[in-house]
């Protein structure tokens, strides 16, 4: 009996996974892209001083710079630039 309950439970969780995929798969890319756009904007804020845009919150965003480095690298790759476009800011 316990075996049965176990397999029913497993079946339910598998069905749940499939339903979740069915809900999410079609729009995964649209949503991820929208999120990426927002992240890009945030990155622009964090690195704005490097590009000569004054940033009143520089004191706080400076701390975030190392954390964003990986994403910055991905960003310039995505924009079709082999290396960092900024003169004094090399990431690779």
């Amino acid at each position: 009996m316990s075996m049965n309950i176990h397999s029913v439970k497993r079946w339910f969780s598998r069905a749940g996974e499939l339903v979740n995929e069915f809900y999410n798969a079609p729009y995964r890319s649209a949503i991820a892209r929208a999120k990426r756009d927002e992240d890009d904007l945030f990155m622009l804020l964090v690195y704005s001083e490097i590009m000569g845009v004054p940033n009143p919150a520089a004191y706080y965003t400076l701390e975030l710079q190392p954390l964003m480095l990986e994403r910055f690298h991905e960003w310039h790759k995505r924009m079709g630039m082999e290396h960092s476009p900024l003169d004094h800011f090399r990431c690779c």
Binding site: G16, V19, E21, F22, Y23, A25, P26, Y27, R28, S29
Partner: protein
């Protein structure tokens, strides 16, 4: 004849087509390779390229391609009798649509999951790519105008569906919020959502809603068309998770529930087909069956729209190349089965031949309304659901499908305008709102331009829409054929359908051209001419590119 026989023959033939013909095509022609590294793995980025379970991918592919079109087309086409529509849907699905859809996935998969539009540029030539953009734009334009008209007709004829149809949008909005804010799991939400929707359908007949016959000289039909485009414009601008995603999900569930209900009720009831096998007594003004049948039923037999879904999104998520057979070919069969259910509803759902003839009193009459009425009769007698509730249920299903296609279509049209804005450096056109307004404006122009101020003329362009849709399929088949020839594989399995489609579409365009000329409908005449030029252009491109490759291959052979 009994409808069960038709159902078993149709479903059986399509199933055999999947088991044997698709196996042959997949193994011998496309030579699908389970070890081929698909773009989903090669370029995996968690955004566009994500390897996806083949059943999930099939469900997603099937629900994106199956909409209102495979219902409207066959429901109009049974006016020539049930046999022609039945044969074209069944054999079209087996030999045309399945090969086309699986082929589009394969072609895209072998080319870094590029869309068929881009592939046309790479494989056939730049000129063809331009042509492709024009044909896509025309298809989207027509689909929006036609569906707006079809929905407004349904909302007026079945006023009990107005509350559930708009209620369903609120249900979707709420589901979107619940999922987004993670208040509840998807399983529970699905059950609640479906219950809410069916409660609305149950309530619908007791609260019928009608618009005033005229408001400031605008007829009720035209009012609905305007409201629908207003809705579609807003919906296409909202973030997808808010409305589009939950509504598509509910529609997907509705599609499966609807199919099960219709086929189940047919099995239980076993209604006799009251429509004639071949209608020798067609109403006056009905165009000749050949070639119009082959463009009236586009989706359900073969549809170019599938190529867009197959290459734009499905191919980017293909886990293994061999999955293309199941996802593409079986997806086409899913859509064929929806068309088959429509044929059953529109021919076996009426008690006598006289009843049927009263509904199909002229060409373009009947249509979705016949599907709703006939289907409701079968469901209410087969499983004992009240007739007006069954009617509301099927209307809601058809309207929601058409509505989804409308705002997806509008969104795609907006992208095209934005792309043109970028191409020609027109700043304002690159923004979402002005581009959406342009898209809505062009659709409204067509909806009202085709049929006058009451906006009921949209359905006049149905055959023209079918023709354009077939042309799109023709372009995709051309891409697949050229790829096959380059690989030195047999080309007739895609070339023969291509030739057949081109002959039928050109033939149909000329027949319609004469019809529009006789009626003095200069607006549609111009549209017809544009499509005709595109069709002849495609035929020329096809023969030019194929003979060029043949020559190249010959030259290489003599060299070697």
């Amino acid at each position: 004849m009994n409808a069960i026989v038709m159902m078993l023959l149709g479903l059986g033939a399509m199933f055999l087509g999947y088991v044997f013909y698709s196996k042959f095509i997949a193994e011998k022609i496309f030579k699908l390779d389970p070890n081929f590294k698909t773009p989903a793995h090669e370029l995996e980025d968690g955004v566009d390229f994500v390897p996806t379970n083949k059943y999930v991918l099939w469900g997603h592919h099937f629900t994106s391609v199956a909409g209102a079109a495979p219902i409207i087309g066959p429901a109009i086409a049974v006016i020539w009798g049930w046999v022609p529509a039945f044969l074209w849907v069944v054999f079209g699905t087996i030999f045309f649509a399945g090969v086309h859809d699986a082929g589009a996935i394969w072609a895209s998969n072998r080319n870094k999951a590029k869309s068929i539009g881009n592939l046309t540029g790479d494989v056939v030539g730049k000129r063809s790519q331009t042509l492709f953009m024009i044909v896509i734009f025309l298809v989207l334009l027509m689909v929006n105008a036609v569906f707006a008209t079809a929905i407004s007709g349904l909302l007026i004829k079945f006023s009990s569906s107005v509350v559930p149809v708009w209620g369903a949008i609120f249900v979707a909005l709420i589901i979107g919020q619940i999922i987004f804010r993670k208040w509840m799991g998807l399983g529970a939400v699905s059950v609640l959502g479906v219950i809410a929707l069916y409660l609305l359908i149950w309530v619908g007949p007791s609260v019928p809603l009608e618009l005033p016959e005229t408001v400031m000289g605008v007829s009720d039909n035209a009012q609905w068309v305007l409201i629908l485009f207003g809705y579609a414009a807003i919906a296409s601008l909202l973030p997808v998770w808010m409305l589009l995603q939950p509504r598509d999900y509910i529609n997907g569930l509705q599609l499966f529930i609807g199919l099960i209900l219709l086929y189940g009720a047919t099995l239980l009831l076993g209604p006799e087909i009251s429509a004639p096998a071949f209608n020798t007594n067609t109403p006056e003004g009905t165009p000749s069956m050949l070639p119009l049948l082959f463009v009236t039923i586009a989706c359900g037999a073969i549809s170019g729209f599938h190529g867009l879904v197959a290459s734009g999104t499905t191919s980017k998520q293909l886990d293994k190349e061999t999955d293309a057979r199941f996802v593409g070919y079986f997806g086409a069969i899913g859509e064929g089965s929806l068309s088959l259910a429509t044929i059953i509803a529109a021919t076996a759902g009426f008690a006598t031949l006289a009843d049927w003839e009263a509904v199909y009193s002229s060409f373009g009459q009947g249509g979705v309304a016949a599907f709703v009425e006939g289907g409701a009769n079968i469901i209410s007698q087969g499983i004992g659901l009240e007739a007006d509730i069954a009617e509301t249920l099927l209307t809601v299903m058809a309207v929601l499908f058409a509505g989804t296609t409308m705002d997806t279509g509008l969104r795609l049209q907006r992208y095209i305008f934005q792309e043109w804005g970028g191409l020609y450096n027109i700043r304002w056109m690159q923004k979402a709102l002005p581009a959406t307004l342009l898209a809505v404006g062009s659709c409204l122009l067509l909806a009202f331009g085709a049929g006058g101020a009451d906006g009921s003329g949209g359905l006049l362009i149905w055959p023209l829409f079918g023709t354009t849709n077939q042309l799109l399929a023709g372009l995709t088949l051309l891409v697949i054929t050229v790829m096959l020839v380059r690989l030195g594989r047999p080309m007739y399995y895609t070339l023969l359908p291509l030739i057949f489609l081109l002959i039928m579409t050109v033939f149909a365009l000329i027949v319609q051209l004469k019809g529009f000329y006789d009626k003095g409908d200069w607006f549609l005449l111009t549209l017809d001419l544009v499509v005709l030029v595109a069709a002849i252009w495609i035929a020329l491109e096809a023969s030019a590119s194929l003979s060029k490759i043949k020559k190249e291959q010959k030259a290489e052979n003599t060299k070697g």
